[in-house]
Symmetry: C2
Subunit: 232 residues, 2 copies
């Protein structure tokens, strides 16, 4: 029987690639998607479709209202910055940072893993093209893993040893895209934009759109969202 794993799936390019990697490594993935009051709701539908198409064991949508805390452009009604005119992204921690978001998500993943009898949690964090989020760095992930093994019945009783897998952490966006294409990921099903229009069409100008564009350019392939006319 295949080993179960929990895969955090946002509907974005990175987590879709992570799901493909978990499948390639022989895991039977339970995908976990968070409805955290994000303004771009199209993510949720994309995640569900990806999970089904890619052959995950099960898809779960967890409702966690981070809006009650406020403090981020991703959940509040404050403007998400469009790319600067020089085409560079900011080196600072951006206002799209949601306080403790990955910590909250990984905590739920840990609960799901313990209940499913899984030891492996996959998350698509990236420390290279990561836009400056502190909770995407290897030292953070290591600290979470250490904590997880002290937090749980399974960890304490020694029946499980939790591992947080971050297969993308040292990859550039172009490398991620190449890896995903190699594994057959259909990127036309993914969504990256922080600022989509009412129909879910990407803006092409936010940090996330710029990263995606740069990634496909460097990978030397055309974004399937352009091919099917969703992205300009």
């Amino acid at each position: 029987m295949k080993k179960k794993a929990i895969v955090l799936l946002s509907g974005g390019l990175d987590s879709a690639t992570v799901l493909a990697i978990a499948l390639q490594q022989g895991y039977s993935p339970v995908t976990l998607c968070f409805d955290y009051g994000q303004r771009h709701r199209v993510e949720l539908a994309k995640a569900r479709a990806l999970s089904l198409k890619m052959g995950a064991l099960e898809h779960r949508e967890v409702k966690v209202d981070l809006r009650q805390f406020g403090g981020s452009a991703l959940t509040d009604e404050i403007a998400v910055p469009k790319g600067r005119t020089d085409g560079e992204m900011s080196a600072e921690i951006p206002i799209t940072y949601v306080p403790a978001r990955n910590t909250i998500f990984l905590s739920f993943a840990l609960a799901a893993a313990e209940i499913a009898g899984a030891e492996d949690i996959f998350i698509g964090v990236n420390a290279i093209d990561y836009s400056g989020y502190p909770d995407c760095r290897p030292e953070y992930i290591q600290a979470f893993e250490q904590m997880a093994n002290l937090a749980t019945k399974a960890g304490v009783e020694g029946t499980s040893k939790f591992k947080i897998h971050t297969p993308l952490i040292q990859m550039t966006k172009a490398e991620i895209i190449k890896k995903g294409l190699e594994l057959g990921v259909d990127y036309s099903l993914t969504h990256s934009c922080y600022h989509p229009d009412a129909n879910g069409r990407p803006c092409g100008q936010c940090d996330s759109c710029l990263l995606r564009k740069k990634g496909f350019q460097e990978a030397g392939v055309v974004d399937p969202l352009i091919q099917i006319g969703i992205q300009e």
Copy 2:
């Protein structure tokens, strides 16, 4: 101006005492209570009343549905064990254990702290009379604190250094009660039972009721719930 702190307040005896300690130490507490689908809903009302009466700055109720994960007698429709006939509690991790519960709660507290500009989080975990929960031990709390300072913008930028305060961690239930009475905590407003009746009256027989009973006996005081006729 007083320093803000986040205090996890469940409506139980322990967290009410923690709130009193935070106030005594000069903090201005924001109390955080979790509606996690617990079967004993009376907790939520108790927490709100305690926060108001004790003079917290603000009370927040956070809805987090842990039932979607299943796996615990506190949230599922499985029987909570009553005390054994010899009056002893089990030494094993009990089925009232909710996977990763404190990790999820502390993650939300961390988000709330970062947004409020607070560095201090108070939680009433206890490693003595703790019924065997792994996420109540000092080594777990230390690991969480370490992770928290790597997870956050405030931690990384060095503007905040998060600290998880666990003032009860090495205290017996009797010591906790004595400390609380010294600080004027009204324990008639607290709730401990895992198995209350429809009116919120404690069963007097579950692990949590037994611990409370033993605590008041050892402290040499009568439980105010008995004085006002709520507890037998």
